[in-house]
Amino acid sequence: MSSFAQSKKDSTLTLFKTSALELDLKFIDPAKGSFGIDHQLILERSLKSINSTDGSFEKGINLNLNSKGFTTVSGDKNQNNSIINELKVEAFPLLFVKPKQISENESWQDAADDADLISQSRSLANHVASPFWLFFNIHGKHETTQDFKNYDFALGSQLSIATSILNKFLDFPFNLLRSAPNNNPRALDLSIGYDYVIGLKNTDLSSLSKNNSNMNRLNLKAEWETGIFTKDNRLVFLLDSYHDLDAATKLKEANKNWNYFYMIKLDHLLAKSDRTTTKVSVKYTHGGLPPNFDRGFVLGGGFSLEF
């Protein structure tokens, strides 16, 4: 991640305070485009932030411009042919359940010499963690194929919840198969959104929809991660589903009133040396994404080296 301006001072010329571009290159089946690039670009600016005087509390309203998608050398063979460019204003967070209080009662100097400091901070973090967070955004999206021939616009809002309450239930099977003690789940992240989609006439869905031009769409998203088998494996699940709330019969017959996209990713920490960390990842994606919701799957693999 790089930053246009990391300083706290905002200048009138700085449009976005933070920025990030991530490119993930991968070789895939020649029948599906041979070579692909996953991209994610984020530009963000804080519009308003509310901080308490003791620094304990931060709420804000952010302006966020982002783009993400998958592009292949042969666009017509791309099985996840979707690029989504989004502009959103978000309440970050909207609210959260206040955590349990702990008193300021230990000296950091004594604690620094304590061999048990890692496990103490683990349990303290667990103790003060808020079990429920709520976030809200309003957004406009430009959803297009990689050749920009098919596209639509979606305007809507989204509520996101982050909670660790369901971890015990979700993690039950993985916990049974796990040998390492410190490879636990991350909090579940759930989002529900509504989009009013316009410009359907520019997509493959135009002939299947009721009025050929717009759609009332529900969007459900979920992401969760946990440790699996040994201390070196992490498994990530991501689901992104879209439902036409007022689907035409043709759309239902074409089985495109409920569309889903899911991803399963396994990260394995392969080797650690004094200088490098090597990680191997296997990623499987299946389903369809806006604007055309053409269904397909991609199995990709790769490794990363960190120096």
Partner: protein
């Protein structure tokens, strides 16, 4: 002659106390760094919201912030970082260290190594 000797001795004493003070300052800085790094490692390894895939401090320190398990979707990553910053703030307060949530988040940059982030936090933190 004796005055000169006394003066040289005094200078030596001053030098020694300067080096002693310097060593103490370096030792204190190292202790603070180690404290922040260990608590960062522990707080990110929260059993109910674990974003730390590493099991030893050295590997963790060299690894980048981006390699931690914040999430795949950019919104999910941001929310995970906020939750961590919130928890870490309270953990540090318990030990009498003040590092604001804003400072924690601002330095939690994906391209930096965890050791580099701790260096930045060290500059911003107030140790009581």
């Amino acid at each position: 002659m004796s005055i000169k000797i006394i003066s040289i001795l005094l200078n030596k004493n001053q030098q020694n106390s300067f080096y002693l003070h310097e060593n103490k300052t370096i030792a204190m800085k190292e202790k603070k760094f180690r404290f922040l790094k260990i608590t960062y490692f522990g707080a990110s390894d929260n059993p109910n919201d674990d974003v730390n895939p590493y099991d030893d401090l050295d590997t963790f320190g060299k690894a980048t912030v981006g390699s931690l398990g914040w999430g795949i979707d950019d919104g999910v990553r941001k929310r995970s970082k906020l939750r961590f910053a919130h928890n870490y703030y309270h953990v540090l307060r318990h030990y009498g260290v003040l590092l604001t949530i804003e400072d924690i988040l601002e330095n939690l940059v994906d391209d930096l190594s965890n050791d580099e982030v701790v260096e930045k936090w060290l500059e911003a933190a107030v140790f009581n």
